[in-house]
Subunit: 227 residues, 2 copies
DNA sequence: TAATCTGTTTATCGAATGATAAAGGAGGTC
DNA sequence: GACCTCCTTTATCATTCGATAAACAGATTA
């Protein structure tokens, strides 16, 4: 019987605890991203080439392992420099936005990030809402103000819901690339950088114009008021 | 012990088969939309106020019930008139698009549609890809051609990937309203009609301009070519 | 080489799962 | 009112789940 390595690093057993733990976490990320939280610990262990009870030597429960999986995929992924770059008015706004979304897309548009995010939402965890509240306060408001500045509008007042919603729209369109690819199994544009540049350009052409229309019709004919 | 009705129509047992079947399907739609396909038949039965084996009197297996759930939520939901309306050039294009997306949003932006759609994708069913291929061939191409006409461009050639992608973007932004609301549990604009009008307006301001830039720079400086 | 430590496996438990068989019971028919 | 039809329940099975306890085995130390 020739040896059939179940894991890339072959069949060396008795690893250092830290090494084994890392291998489990890496495997768990890939495994739960594929099957969701209902994937069984036995099948995960089989994929790792270890026995199921060994998982419980390293994690007290399945839930503890899942917590670690989320930490691995989502914690410390936000690049603080993105905010600095978005504010750098020496660079044209369009270039700033393209650069930001290229960096951001590189972080979120992958199999594990997209699928685990959706699994978390469907399970009812508050993780998604908390993450997106952070995203909105960190990036959306900032982007809205830079766009206002670009169009000679006052930047101090609170951001309108409409402004935020259209930025949501750009974000959604980009994230949906990941949904299409990693959840629906559909093809996406092969040149992501060019695609992002196109989306940012269309956004910058349309969003300020639509918001401008909104403001000018305010008080006039069909006024809209938030409930 | 006062009677505690588990279902709206109270505790009348021994229903007509057709009536019971419909009650099961309705309950299954709500149940599996909430818990996914791994929701247990016992809990579903408990919600319906019946016993679990009774489900197997009406459906040979859990999978058969799930098939019926999908039929209930997704089949015959497409309105053929939408295509006719999109083509009606007596109406301004913006109005046509707003009208279409208002009707379409009414169909898809609900708890069951959004969540079951995502559960299906995560499970690896080809349902999502097939549905969206239909959507693209039914609506996206049509919309792209109407936009071309509006801007005095030839409508006969094949739709560019870039045109389709920006329409994907509008679609994604609208669908993402459902994701935010029914999967992430976040608030969405209270006035959906106004929100859709805003998104369509921003889209129509930005998309043709971005595509136009693309075409004019074609052959010139940074030509892009699909792999 | 014997003893010890500890990473790993084997064996197993109680609960929950989809599914089946048989008994019960409500409502109509003669 | 006895009988029959068939909708519904009770009882149960084999499997799979997360989790635990005990045995095993490789490596280090004396």
């Amino acid at each position: 019987m020739s040896r059939i390595p179940t894991v890339k690093t072959a069949d060396k057993r008795r690893l250092e605890p830290k090494e084994r733990e890392l291998e489990i976490v890496r495997g768990a990320v890939a495994f739960f991203a594929e099957f969701g939280f209902d994937g069984s610990t036995r099948e995960l262990a089989a994929r790792l080439g270890i026995t199921q009870p060994l998982l419980y030597r390293y994690f007290p429960s399945k839930e503890a392992l899942l917590d670690r999986v989320y930490e691995e995929v989502y914690v410390n992924r936000w690049n603080k420099e993105w905010e600095t770059q978005l504010r750098d008015r020496a660079v044209p706004l369009e270039d700033r936005l393209v650069r930001f979304y290229r960096g951001y897309a590189k972080v979120i548009l992958n199999y594990e990030w997209v699928r685990l995010f959706m699994f978390a939402g469907l399970k009812g965890l508050d993780f998604n809402a908390r993450y997106l509240a952070f995203l909105r306060s960190s990036a959306f408001d900032l982007i809205a103000r830079e766009i206002r500045l670009e169009h000679g509008m006052p930047t101090d007042g609170p951001i309108l819901n409409e402004e935020a919603e259209l930025i949501w729209g750009l974000h959604a369109a980009i994230f949906y690339l990941g949904v299409r690819q990693f959840i629906y199994g559909m093809p996406v544009p092969d040149d992501l950088d060019a695609d992002l540049a196109l989306r940012v350009r269309a956004f910058l052409r349309g969003m300020p114009a639509a918001v401008g229309d909104l403001i000018h019709q305010e008080g006039a004919g069909q006024a809209r008021r938030a409930g």
